[in-house]
């Protein structure tokens, strides 16, 4: 059970970063940390002691396999995470070119 709680503490660290930081890059980094902890939690649920990776060997039918369903869900989520992070970075670089800073409070003040 310790692994589940450590995994959630990693999520909380990301949440702390999102709430307290004012730098846009730091916020993006915190979001990706929260994403990573979610992937880890899904994979932890499907693990079985003594299981092997879910690749069927037709010559040896009696084997314990790890649950393939959470792995399939995480597989698509990782690629989507890359695309959304890239989109966040595109927004950030446009904001930096316009205002010349990463600080969200200064951006708010500059808008007037």
């Amino acid at each position: 059970m310790i692994a589940y709680i450590m995994c959630f503490i990693l999520f909380l660290v990301g949440l702390y970063g999102v709430i307290t930081r004012r730098n846009l890059i730091k916020i993006a980094v915190s979001l990706s940390i929260m994403e990573i902890s979610t992937f880890l939690f899904f994979t932890l649920i499907g693990y079985i002691d003594g299981g092997v990776a879910p690749i069927v060997d037709p010559t040896d039918p009696v084997k314990v396999y790890v649950d393939p369903l959470p792995q399939a869900l995480v597989l698509t989520a990782i690629v989507i995470g890359l695309a959304t992070t890239a989109m966040l970075m595109a927004v950030i670089i446009r904001l930096y070119r316009k205002y010349g800073t990463f600080d969200i409070r200064e951006i708010k003040n500059l808008r007037g």
Partner: protein, 175 residues
């Protein structure tokens, strides 16, 4: 296995804390990459080689994109001292975290112990899946056959994200 995973996640927590508190933005981004690479080791220990292959390449590309953005800027976080609003948000974050941790520890009691998983659907997915789909790799069978609509939605989301990036980054419109 429980203890091993916990130690690796402990290192990941240190990396995440450094990534949040570093002054130089470049070192912050690289510490985020450290967290991602540790996740690869966890995936290998948890018997998920498909995820390990995807994650190690995706993390590298994410690092490249983030570094490309950071290198253009001044790289310094303008480190302001904590004012009133900073204190309020920090206290709010810690309070919210403790509250969420409490509810998590209560709700986690209904889960199985790590390594003794007994999900109801897993039996149906594993038994006879190789005969039903004809694929030796069960993850591919689940992704493209049993859960095909998930994959379709994923493809649409990916195309939408690419269109969004192209729209945001276009400087000159078509004449």
């Amino acid at each position: 296995m429980d203890l091993t995973i916990s130690i690796i996640v402990g290192f990941m927590i240190f990396g995440a804390l450094y990534a949040i508190h570093a002054r130089d933005l470049l070192s912050s981004v690289i510490a985020c990459g450290l967290v991602g690479y540790s996740l690869v080791i966890c995936f290998l220990l948890l018997k998920a080689p498909d995820l390990a292959i995807v994650q190690i390449v995706v993390d590298t590309i994410t690092l490249i994109i983030m570094v490309a953005v950071v290198l253009d800027s001044s790289r310094e976080e303008s480190y302001l001292k904590l004012d009133t609003q900073g204190y309020i948000s920090a206290v709010t974050a810690i309070f919210l975290g403790l509250l969420l941790l409490y509810f998590y520890t209560v709700s986690i009691q209904s889960l199985d112990v790590l390594g003794k998983s007994s999900l109801r659907m897993a039996k149906h997915y594993i038994e006879g899946a190789a005969q039903k789909t004809g694929s030796a790799n069960l993850v591919t069978g689940v992704v493209f056959d049993f859960r095909g609509y998930d994959t379709m939605g994923e493809a649409v989301v990916l195309v939408t994200a690419v269109l969004g990036v192209l729209t945001i980054l276009r400087l000159r419109g078509k004449k």
